[in-house]
């Protein structure tokens, strides 16, 4: 029987079954859910929470501190995606350190670093290589070029994360989640099958989703309908296959090895990251051991928010001392962050209700 999209919308609005908490673990899903107002389209019985899927949000303070140290070092310049500039370190952000002479360039693609490096051979350019499975292949392609062209003045400071390991860790730690909107672009690389072990182990549905509003609603419908079943649905078949991209995984495997990784607010998670292999250590700007994670404000609840145990509005700092203009935690910094979007939605909600009065 054909299903009309309106039926899905009506079903999700009227749903009165057992309460479900669904987690999305991709910054672009977080942003899309906010943009399309998905939360307002769901019954109160369906709660959406944002997991640790924004690469900037999960970077510990020790990593930011190390970037600042490098950017202040003689003949060294840090190159980064824009979001990273404002993430608080233990005492300040990379952007704030610019006032003291920290040298920082922003780029759109890591490969742009090689252009900068070619123009200025006396400077070492350190790329702030953060990201998940989707981003790491771009770093591997950059390393391949560096190897081929014998480029010596570029290094990476890595904070690379892998998704299945942290999901397993969250669920193993008792996170109260009934289903996952699986990350669309991570799945392009890993394949949807990467989530089968966790789905089966914990008896939960995963649904790989695209990024349009109707795709996300369809995925939520798929998860609600699959409640309590350990299975993986692929609702993004135009981009995602069961096996993913072997090419991408091969080139990543040539340069990187699995390692424990430190996640902001969560701590160290075994096997959830990647480091450069020992034979490529000349390209590593000191990435191992950056595990320290100091809260800028002890009341910050980023860690609980990233694991679905608290909503942004549960944090005493939210919207008061912590705002997008002056973020205390990384979730408020990034345009893929949970607190950032909750804050913007709250502002627009109050403007809406103001209009009605």
């Amino acid at each position: 029987m054909p299903i009309d999209f309106n039926e899905i919308k009506e079903y999700l609005k009227e749903y009165d079954g057992p309460a479900m908490t669904l987690m999305e673990v991709c910054g672009s899903h977080t942003a899309a859910i906010a943009k399309y107002g998905i939360k307002a389209m769901l019954s109160d019985k369906i709660r959406l929470v944002s997991g640790p899927g924004c690469p900037v949000c999960v970077t510990p303070t020790a990593y930011v501190d190390r970037l600042i140290e490098l950017a202040l070092k003689e003949n060294t310049r840090v190159v980064t995606f824009g979001d990273m500039i404002r993430v608080p370190g233990s005492s300040r952000s990379l952007g704030e350190a610019r006032g003291d002479g920290a040298k920082v360039s922003m780029v759109y693609s890591p490969a742009d670093t090689l252009k900068l490096a070619a123009k200025d051979p006396d400077t070492t350019f350190v790329f702030a290589a953060v990201g998940f499975e989707t981003t790491t292949p771009a770093y591997a392609l950059m390393l391949e070029r560096m190897e081929k062209e014998n480029i010596k003045n570029v290094q990476l400071l890595t904070a690379l994360k892998t998704m299945p390991a942290v999901i397993d860790w969250l669920l193993g730690g008792g996170a109260d989640i009934d289903g996952f909107i699986a990350p669309g672009h991570v799945s392009v690389i890993t394949g949807s099958s990467a989530f089968i072990p966790a789905a089966e182990k914990y008896g939960l549905p995963f649904c790989v989703s695209g990024f349009r509003g109707e795709e996300i609603l369809a995925a939520i419908y798929g998860l609600v309908k699959s409640r309590g079943q350990g299975r993986v649905l692929n609702f993004y078949p135009s981009a995602v296959t069961s096996v993913g991209s072997a090419e991408a995984r091969n080139i990543v495997g040539r340069y990187f090895r699995p390692a424990a990784a430190a996640w902001r607010g969560l701590g160290e998670v075994p096997g959830s990251g990647l480091l450069l292999k020992d034979e490529y250590s000349e390209w590593d700007a000191g990435s191992a051991g950056l595990t320290e994670d100091v809260k800028k404000n002890s009341l910050c609840r980023c860690g609980e928010i990233l694991s679905g145990k608290a909503d942004p509005s549960d944090c005493p700092l939210f919207g008061k001392t912590c705002t997008p203009g002056k973020p205390m935690g990384a979730c408020m910094v990034s345009q893929e962050g949970s607190c950032y979007h909750s804050y913007l939605n709250r502002v627009s909600d109050s403007e809406d209700s103001g209009d009605k009065r």
């Binding site: 999209f5 991709c26 672009s28 690469p55 693609s109 981003t135 798929g222 991209s245």
Partner: protein, 71 residues
């Protein structure tokens, strides 16, 4: 850093990059992971083409729902 929408390949270049158009905004992207041709719709992430979209797989809602209802 993540562009959730697809862009169209305008030009494939010799240096393992392609020019990709996102609604008039054109960017250069690395093509080392997947083979691309002019006219392909691609996903670009961190300046790297990660996938060519398979239009034949742009399944309808009904096909997706069949997967659920078939339980």
């Amino acid at each position: 850093m993540c562009v959730a929408t697809a862009g169209k390949v305008i030009e494939v270049r010799d240096d393992a990059t392609a020019l990709v158009d996102f609604d008039g905004n054109r960017v250069s992207a690395m093509t080392g992971l997947v083979k691309v041709s002019e006219g392909d719709y691609v996903l670009v992430h961190a300046g790297c083409v990660i996938q060519v979209l398979d239009e034949a797989e742009a399944t309808s809602l009904n096909d997706l729902m069949r997967e659920i209802e078939g339980l």
